[in-house]
């Protein structure tokens, strides 16, 4: 009897010290998505007219460790099919829980552009195969810096305010003083509203091609600077909401991006998604739209005669950069007509279990001024573990 007590005391003491020393928690998610474009010679979301599983499949593992005193450390490793499944550290941050309602994150984090920015890759948490591409189209999604999140209640709403600051840099794009604030309001389990504002000093590699040579030949360096995005003020604004009421679903987002003194078009993007839940099934229709506009201020700095004589410039119609089709938007700047694209999708989600969902989605994408009209069929499974 005595021995038994001793043994169990020893065991629990060991267990306690083990817990305190290494409470490492692993979680993960994965999406395996296959798709095919239904028109030859055209691509949609990276899919061609042959079945491929690369463009949107991904695997992620997250490890977090409770360090005590409100501190914790988290890393998320992500392998994307479109990056040959090379493992990259997508998130790496330390959290300090200042109080029950106030949390500070520091490290490599997600830029909160959109409603789904934070869990962009966690397919299980939304009903599309991937979030709408005309809205979710920016070429970067992370930053290094700080984020402060405050939650609470005000009148009938639960609110979450996030303020953040930091920077992003890659080979092609640099954003300094990247800062923003966003507010989410939730009401009575079925309504959620969100709005966000972000600013930053944007520099990216935009080749102006022959136009650049021409401007330099004429000594129009100011005009060239006005077109090139170099430490120019970028502003991003987004507003959106979601209703999940009596198994009816509706979601809406509208975003605007402008980089002053650059040839990047003013991007105005939106989507509306309407759906219905039938037990384990969700049927969902989504409409997306791009109404981009020329960045007039930048364009006015090119003498019209010169612009007219430039082969890459469409006469009279301005010089907006078309950023829609290639997701590599900014580093692949093309000078083309005003971007005006739309897309519609019809999709089904089926919950296999509490942690696995099957999805099928048909999408049609149309952009008249580039003569694009392409459809794709995608299907996949999303897991969370």
């Amino acid at each position: 009897m005595k021995n038994k007590i001793l043994l169990s005391t020893l065991a629990s003491a060991l267990l306690c010290s083990f817990n305190a020393a290494a409470e490492l928690e692993f979680r993960g998610f994965a999406s395996v998505v296959g798709g095919i474009a239904l028109d030859s010679d055209q691509t949609l979301r990276g899919y061609k007219d042959e079945l491929s599983f690369k463009p949107e499949s991904l695997f992620a593992i997250q490890a977090s460790s409770d360090l005590g005193e409100g501190l914790s450390a988290t890393t998320q490793l992500l392998a994307r099919g479109n990056n040959d499944f090379d493992v990259e550290m997508e998130w790496a941050y330390i959290t300090y829980q200042i109080s029950n309602t106030l949390k500070l994150n520091a490290g490599k984090l997600r830029v909160p552009f959109y409603r789904y920015s934070d869990f962009l890759d966690v397919g299980f948490s939304y009903n599309w195969v991937k979030p709408p591409q005309l809205v979710y189209n920016l070429p970067f999604s992370t930053y290094e810096g700080l984020s402060l999140v405050k939650t609470g209640q005000v009148s009938v709403f639960d609110y979450m305010v996030q303020g953040f600051t930091g920077s992003y840099s890659s080979e092609d794009i640099n954003v300094d003083s990247l800062s923003g604030i966003n507010l989410t309001l939730e009401y009575d389990e079925w309504l959620s509203l969100r709005s966000g504002y972000i600013v930053g000093d944007v520099t990216f590699d935009a080749s102006l091609g022959s136009l650049s040579t021409l401007l330099q030949a004429y000594g129009l360096t100011q005009a060239e600077n006005d077109l090139k995005p170099e430490k120019d003020d970028g502003t991003f604004f987004g507003i959106g909401g979601k209703i999940d009421y009596n198994d009816w679903l509706a979601e809406l987002e509208y975003t605007e991006l402008e980089v002053a003194d650059s040839l990047l078009a003013v991007q105005k993007r939106s989507y509306l998604s309407v759906g219905r839940r039938f037990e384990r099934f969700i049927v969902l229709a989504t409409f997306e739209k791009a109404d981009d506009e020329a960045n007039d201020a930048a364009l006015f700095s090119i003498p019209l005669t010169l612009a007219n004589g430039t082969p890459v410039v469409e006469p009279t119609s301005g010089l907006p950069v078309n950023t829609i089709v290639d997701q590599t938007v900014l580093n692949n700047a093309e000078i083309a007509q005003l971007s005006d694209a739309k897309s519609w999708s019809l999709g089904v989600r089926y919950d296999l279990s509490y942690s696995a969902a099957l999805k099928v989605e048909y999408t049609n994408f149309e952009q008249e001024n580039r003569n694009l009209d392409v459809s794709a069929l995608r299907f996949g499974i999303d897991l969370m573990f």
Partner: protein, 135 residues
């Protein structure tokens, strides 16, 4: 007649065993309704109405009492609740309640900590805990 009695008792026992009891420490004086309990388990409320901290504990995934609790209190499917938590756990914004593996463990946790809240089959209730609501 005997058969009928057995049947009635059987039905009674069945319906009783299907009930979920939400339990707290006997020292807790607060009352909670369904919505409040749901908010606590969804991470929205972190304190009792009286202001003291509250920590919810789940039973394991797939546990039948948990399924009943999610159906009648949270009123969403297990997949929906999991998807909801996916938005928090992979973004450093929160985490779902810790899980305990049995009714007995929930009772132990609740009787020893005044800030704990859990749910068990109403058959398992002991005098060590206070039932704050049944569903």
């Amino acid at each position: 007649m005997k058969r009928l009695t057995t049947l009635i008792i059987g039905l009674f026992v069945f319906s009783v065993s299907a009930e979920v009891a939400v339990i707290v420490n006997p020292s807790v004086g607060d009352a909670l309704d369904r919505k409040q309990i749901s908010r606590i388990f969804m991470g929205k409320d972190k304190s009792f109405p009286s202001g003291s901290d509250i920590t919810p504990f789940n039973l394991a995934d797939g546990n039948s009492v948990r399924q009943e609790f999610e159906k009648s209190v949270i009123q969403r499917s297990a997949a929906q609740i999991n998807a909801y938590w996916g938005k928090y756990v992979f973004t450093g914004k929160g985490s779902p309640p810790d899980t305990l593996s049995s009714d007995a463990e929930v009772i132990n946790k609740v009787k020893s900590s005044p800030d704990a809240i859990g749910y068990i089959s109403s058959d398992s209730v002991t005098p060590d805990v206070k039932v704050i609501a049944t569903f």
